[in-house]
Every structure is written in C-alpha cells, then in structure tokens.
C-alpha cells in the first residue's frame, strides 16, 4: 500500500507540502480529484495518479484547468467531495467557471488548490491569487507549514459543505515544496457515488437565476466573514504593545525572527489562515491599543489594504505598515534574515545581521542554465526549423521544455505569454508583419489551449506554420499523461487522440508528420511548409528520452564519437546544435558516452561526416 493511504492515525511521516495536502484530502474522504499539472502543484495530482489503481478515488489529468474545474464542479454538484489542483496561472484559465460556480455553489465539499509561484521558480508571472477570493467572493485558506496544510485541507472540505461554496486553498512554492513532519489522522469514509438533484432555478446560471444567486452568494459571504472572525486558523500568539499580522510561510519567518530577536513578549502576532473574507472584526480588535502594527505578507498588499480599511471603519489610529521602499517589497519571496531585519527596523530594535563571507574576490562562476537534455528531440526539430526558416522569421514559443531553447544557440523563442499563446499570437504577428510566422507548441500544451488558436488560424486564413512538438508526454512537469499519448505502457486505459486527427479535424490542409531525427526529410518538409500560403502544421513525433527510459522503452543504440582524423573543427555540432553530450578536450570536440543516447543527429550536422557510431569492441 502506498504510505499516503495508511488508514491508521498517529504515524509521523516526513511529507512534502503537496503530499500533506493530498493526505489531508484523503483523510477528509475526497473521492474525486482533477487537475492540470503545473509547478509547484504537480505532486498533488501525481500522487493521486499513483494510488489510483489501489483506491476508489476517481482521478484524472484533465485537458486544462478550466476543464479540470468544470469536471470537478459536476462531481461536487452531485454531492461528492472533490479536489481540484492547479498552479496560480491555472486559475486564470479556470477563472470563468470559478466566478459563476461561486453563484451556483456546491453540494459535496469542493477544494480548489492554487499554488502561487512566488519568485517565479517555474512560471511566467508571480501573480497573487488571493485576489481571486475578492473577485469571486469565495473563502480562502492559507497554511503556514506542511503539517498545518494537511489539517487545513480537511477543514476546508467541512467549510465548503457548511457554506455550500467551493473553497480556495492557496499555497506558495515554499509550502508546496517544503517537507515537514506530519502526523496522520484517521480517514473519513469516502462516498464515491453521487446523486445530481435537478433544480434549474438554482443550478442554471441564466440572468434570471443568477440575479437571485448573486444575493445568495453575498449572504454566504457574510456567514463566511463570521466564520473567519472566529476561526481557529486565525489566532494570536505572543503578546505586547506592538503587533504583526502575517500569513503563510511569512508566519514561519516571523516567529523565528521574534525568537531570534527576543521579542516574543513585546510583539503579538496575528496569524491569518482563513484570509478571505478578511476577518475584519478580529483585526480591528487586534489593532485596538497597539502602538504600531506591521503586516508581513509576500507579493501584493492584500492583508495590508484590508487591515487599513478595517482600521478606518473602526475609527482607529494605529499606524499600519507593510509594503514600502524601506520595508517589504511586492517582488519575490522573503527570507528569514530579511524578515528579521525588517521587524527589527520597524520596531526600532537594535539588530546586527550575521555577515556573509566576502565573495567578491572569488572567481566568477560560469552560469549553469537548465538546457534541453542530450538527444532531446525538441533540439533537433528546432534546429532544423531555424536552419530553413532563418533568423528573420518570428518564433512565438509555448510553455514546455522547448521553452529552454530560449537560450542560444537555438534562440528559438521570440514571444511567449502563456499556455497556448504561441499559435494565436503567431496569427497576429503574421497578419501585421506580412510574413509566415512559426509557432512552437508541445503535445500537452496543444490539447490544453492550442486547439482553439488553431481553429482561429484556419477560420481566419492566417499564414502560420505550427510546429507541434509531440514527445508523447507532458515532460516539463514530470511526465504526466495527456490526451495525445499512448497510456498503455503506464498501465492505464485511456483513449488516445492523435494530434494529427485533431489538426486535420480543425480543417488544416497542409499537414505533415515527421520524425525529427531524419534531418534531410525534416528540413525539406519545413521548406515546403514555409512556402505554403495558409496554415501549415508539422507534427514532429519523437518520444522524450527521459520518459522512454521511465517506461522501459528506451532503445539501446550505439553511442557516437568524433573521428578526430576527419574532424576539421568546423564545430557546427557545438555552435548550432549544442547537445550537452559534447565537450572540448584541448581543441578537440569529444562526445561524453555517458550522456550520448545515440540519436545520430550530430552525425548528420557534421559537414565532414566525422561523427560516427562507436562500433562494438571499439
């Protein structure tokens, strides 16, 4: 049995925040889980995928976050406890159903986990999803540790059923990707079979219905406010004439800072875990009589603005500070020492930071940017496309491993906004520049939100080439399944939808399927597609080598070596292809046999035919 399913209470485990969230949901009797994977949320769905064969919890990787949200909404509407997980920007995709499901409400508890990627470790922006609480009027819970996350998820399900509203469970990367000691609780009995009770006057969001439902939502909001004001997850620790209001991981930094500064008896801390609706009355009581109050929160001044409004309404004069030049930034994540220093300076407490060692005179360290792996088929495809379409062509690039080709020498990304944007933005660029524009998009991203852009391109007769990089998995986030792939090697019975069928079904006439490791054919295909006036799609099919290794489908091929007698040091291999298996020994280009996977592409790039497979016995 997977340890996450252990039924006994009391065991202690070291759990990643995301696994603690999953365990909390399991303890709460969750029976239905949907998601679209995205860092830093992906381990939540991945553990449900792993345990799916040994439980009756329904799980799916949905095609995108909107779909995941709506599939989940249907389950929750049928009375089933439902968890939906996504990264912060995923909620933008799911914002449409979020806003109106708030009107409809839910029957079974529904918890929406959104993982904000503060500091953009793996994201296109660092938006603060707490504002979705304000926008939708839905409750928000925010944990400060993995251990708390587990218990709080359980409560979030209860809260959701009490209010008949979905609950947003907002985390940040430091919670999702930190591990802590978590004590397992007992498992609630799962209810897996639901019943949908027809009631169109409450469940069909047409204007006449929604006018009524909006009023009901605001009534629920008022009840949620009362609950937030008295929630055990909004608590005060320590005491003193000064105050701090904080949330999430900032609470950990704050408590450690106060201990380090010996200020636990001078500063009272109000930790908010039920942060929306903002517990106005609780905060007003906390502010009353305080000399000054500091708000410690990452990203936007959500609590600060709310606290200032609450203070004004109560006629209080307590100075409240948070975001400013001197104090906290709206950018990036905090650190323990930074929070310590700001607390000390705000309350006028003497503090001497530990001085890091002098490093300015240490030698410069070469960058170590993430790169496409040795033998990655994306590199091969992008290399061929750029070789034919040239440097002047504009290349909107989508979100996936191929985004790593942003760096030279491939430099294959000129414009990238969000999931699916490559195809649609290429339409606008092509129309205004009058040139065929080339979009790069992966298989999972194509199903996520590339299909609608492609329909637009065909319908409006745009002049673009879409290069669909089909590596048979959702590689960047950890090899999750997607509709385009064969799931049989993973032992799962899912219907495969071939990207080619979708592309043809959307009306694309100029469709090519290629194997990118055949450079000659690939480049001839790109040439033909670039000359075609209209929408062309090249589907580049080659399995991700890392995924192939995982599923035991990694072919054994001879690795390659540079024939030093033939090599004339053109260095096209390292200057244009730049596979990380290459290295220099003196002036000689060499291939690391531990990294080479024998894809044979460099052999085709070399103008001297100097790169050849290592023969047996060599």
């Amino acid at each position: 049995m997977n340890p996450i399913l252990i039924p006994e209470a009391g065991q202690k485990h070291l759990l990643l925040g995301n696994l603690a969230i999953a365990r909390g949901a399991i303890e709460a009797g969750v029976a239905f889980v949907t998601c679209y994977p995205g860092t830093p949320s992906s381990e939540i769905p991945d553990i449900f995928f792993q345990i799916e064969p040994e439980t009756d919890i329904y799980f799916e990787y949905s095609t995108n976050e909107k779909v995941a949200f709506e599939v989940g909404a249907g389950a929750a509407a049928s009375g089933i406890r439902t968890l939906v997980a996504m990264k912060h920007v995923g909620l933008n995709v799911a914002a449409d159903p979020l806003m109106t499901l708030a009107y409809l409400g839910v029957e079974g508890g529904m918890v929406i986990v959104v993982a904000d990627d503060v500091s953009l470790f793996s994201s296109q922006n660092e938006q603060d999803d707490r504002y979705y609480g304000k926008l939708s009027n839905l409750p928000i819970m925010e944990p400060s540790s993995p251990a708390e996350a587990k218990d709080m998820v359980k409560y979030a399900f209860d809260l959701s059923e009490e209010l008949k509203l979905p609950v947003i469970f907002r985390t940040t990367t430091r919670i999702n990707h930190s591990s802590g000691i978590v004590t397992f609780g007992a498992l609630k009995t799962r209810v897996t079979r639901g019943k949908f009770v027809k009631d169109p006057s409450k469940k069909v969001a047409i204007p006449a219905v929604s006018r009524v439902l909006h009023r009901i939502l605001l009534e629920k909001y008022d009840r949620a406010s009362d609950l937030a004001n008295s929630s055990d997850y909004n608590f005060i620790s320590g005491q003193g004439k000064w105050g701090i209001i904080t949330n999430g991981i900032s609470y950990a930094y704050t408590l450690d800072a106060l201990a380090d500064l010996n200020l636990r008896n001078q500063v009272a801390v109000l930790r908010l875990g039920f942060t929306h609706p903002f517990p106005k009355k609780l905060v007003q009581d906390f502010l009353r009589g305080k000399e000054k109050v500091l708000i410690v929160e990452e990203l936007e001044p959500y609590m600060e603005t709310e606290a200032k409004a609450a203070s004004y309404e109560a006629g209080l004069k307590t100075p409240i500070a948070g975001k400013s030049e001197e104090l906290f930034s709206r950018l990036y994540e905090f650190s323990p020492s930074m929070v310590r220093a700001k607390i000390a300076s705000y309350f006028g407490f003497p503090y001497q930071a530990i001085t890091p060692i002098e490093t300015s005179d240490l030698p410069d360290i070469p960058d170590r940017p993430p790169t496409l792996c040795a033998g990655c088929p994306h590199r091969t495809t992008l290399y061929s496309v750029k070789k034919i379409a040239g440097e002047d062509t504009i290349y909107p690039c989508d979100i996936g491993c191929y985004g790593l080709a942003y760096i030279p020498p491939l430099s294959a990304s000129d414009y990238s906004i969000c999931m699916g944007s490559s195809i649609s933005s290429a339409c606008g660029i092509s129309r205004t520049t009058g040139r065929k524009t080339v979009a790069f998009i992966g298989d999972s991203t194509f199903f996520h939100s590339g299909m609608t852009g492609l329909a637009d391109a065909v319908h409006n007769k745009h002049n673009i080439l879409v290069v669909l990089l089909d590596n048979g998995t959702t590689a960047m986030t950890g090899y999750q399944i997607n509709p385009g792939m064969d799931t049989e090697p993973l032992g799962r019975d899912k219907q495969r939808i071939k990207p080619e069928d979708v592309v043809r079904g959307l009306g694309v006439q100029d469709v090519h399927v290629i194997r990118p490791r055949n450079l000659k054919k690939t480049q001839e295909t790109v040439k033909a597609a670039m000359q075609y006036d209209g929408v062309s799609v090249i589907i580049s099919e080659e399995i991700c080598p890392l995924f192939a290794r995982r599923i035991g489908k990694f072919p054994k091929r001879p690795v390659f070596q540079v024939d030093q007698e033939r090599c004339k040091n053109h260095r096209d291999c390292i200057n244009y292809l730049a596979c990380p298996a290459f290295y220099l020994e003196g002036e000689n280009v060499m291939i690391n046999p531990d990294l080479c996977i024998g894809c044979a592409v460099c052999g085709q790039v070399c103008p001297e035919n100097a790169i050849r497979p290592v023969k047996k016995g060599e």
Partner: protein, 177 residues
C-alpha cells in the same frame, strides 16, 4: 531520493524537528539545484545568506556560487570533482581555479573540507552513490543534532534493495575520510 530528504528522514527517526525545502524540476535539465534543511526549534524551511551552519556541496564551482550562504561559523563539506556546465564544456565559459578559490574560502569559514566523492562513489560501486559519500563525510566532519546511525537507518529505509549495499558502502567511505 535527494540527500536533503534523507537528512529529513534521519531527523524524523531521531525525533528532531526538521524542515526541508527543495526546488524541483530543473535537476535533470542540468540546472542548479539548491535544497535546505533546518533542524530543531525552528519553522523556516530555508536558510538566509550568511546563516548556513553547514554547506554540503556536490560540485566545487557550486560551492563557490553558494559562498554567500556562509559565514565564519560555517562548516563547508564539498565534493572536489568538477561537473562542467555546458558553456564551459564547449569552450564558451571559464571554469574557475577551484584549488585556489577553496584556499581563499577556507580562511573565511570555520572549516572547509573537500573530497573527491566521485572517486569514492566509484569505489563503492556506482558513481550514482556520490551523494551518499557526501552524507558520510558530513556525518563525520560537521556538527549535527543527529548521529551517523540515524542517517544510515534513513538510507536503509529509503533505498531500493539492489542499491542498498552500494549506498551504505559509499556512506562509510565518506565517513572514513
């Protein structure tokens, strides 16, 4: 499993409070991977500049890159075997003179201890056990609230049977440095 995960498991075995922080996803794509462990009466899972008690580094140039985490109170345990970034491998970047840089750094921290962990891992039976060598060296040369036996127990409980002997041997080779 990451070395920090094993330290965390060892702390759990020892009954010491522990927080582990990881950055996921980029390791297999050749990027820099930094993890943090905090133990004892502490909630923060990350370590600020200058505040590391121990810097455990698996690659010598990365030791220098993480120099700002150290103060004069820091014990540095580092692998001396370089793993060149691709830019260096193809002659478009310069790999620093590690020996000289370590000499400078050694004078600024409490202790800097460098070993060729790749060679010892190879001796243990697989270069993949390099992180076990480093854990063994840390258990020997750094002050920890957990014992070498806690770490070995964590290795035993979290290693596939086919790798266990190699991992334990690698740990011992590191410990005997």
């Amino acid at each position: 499993m990451l070395a920090t995960g094993l330290i965390g498991e060892a702390a759990l075995i020892a009954g010491v409070n522990v927080n582990v922080s990881e950055i996921h996803g980029m390791a297999q794509r050749g990027g820099v991977v930094e993890s943090a462990v905090t133990m004892g009466d502490i909630m923060s899972p990350i370590v600020s500049d200058g505040e590391a008690d121990i810097l455990l580094s698996f690659e010598p140039s990365e030791t220098l890159r993480s120099g700002a985490k150290c103060s004069k109170l820091t014990t540095v345990i580092t692998n001396s075997h370089p793993l060149h970034p691709f830019t260096v491998a193809i002659g478009k970047g310069v790999y620093p003179d590690i020996e000289a840089a370590f000499e400078v750094m050694r004078g600024r921290v409490k202790k800097l201890f460098a070993i060729n962990a790749n060679a010892l891992a190879h001796e243990a039976g697989s270069v993949l056990s390099m992180n076990m060598v480093m854990l063994g060296a840390m258990a020997k040369h750094a002050e920890l609230p957990i014992t070498p036996n806690h770490l070995k127990q964590a290795i035993k409980e979290n290693t596939k049977a086919s790798f266990l002997d190699i991992n334990l041997k690698a740990f011992d080779l590191g410990y005997n440095t």
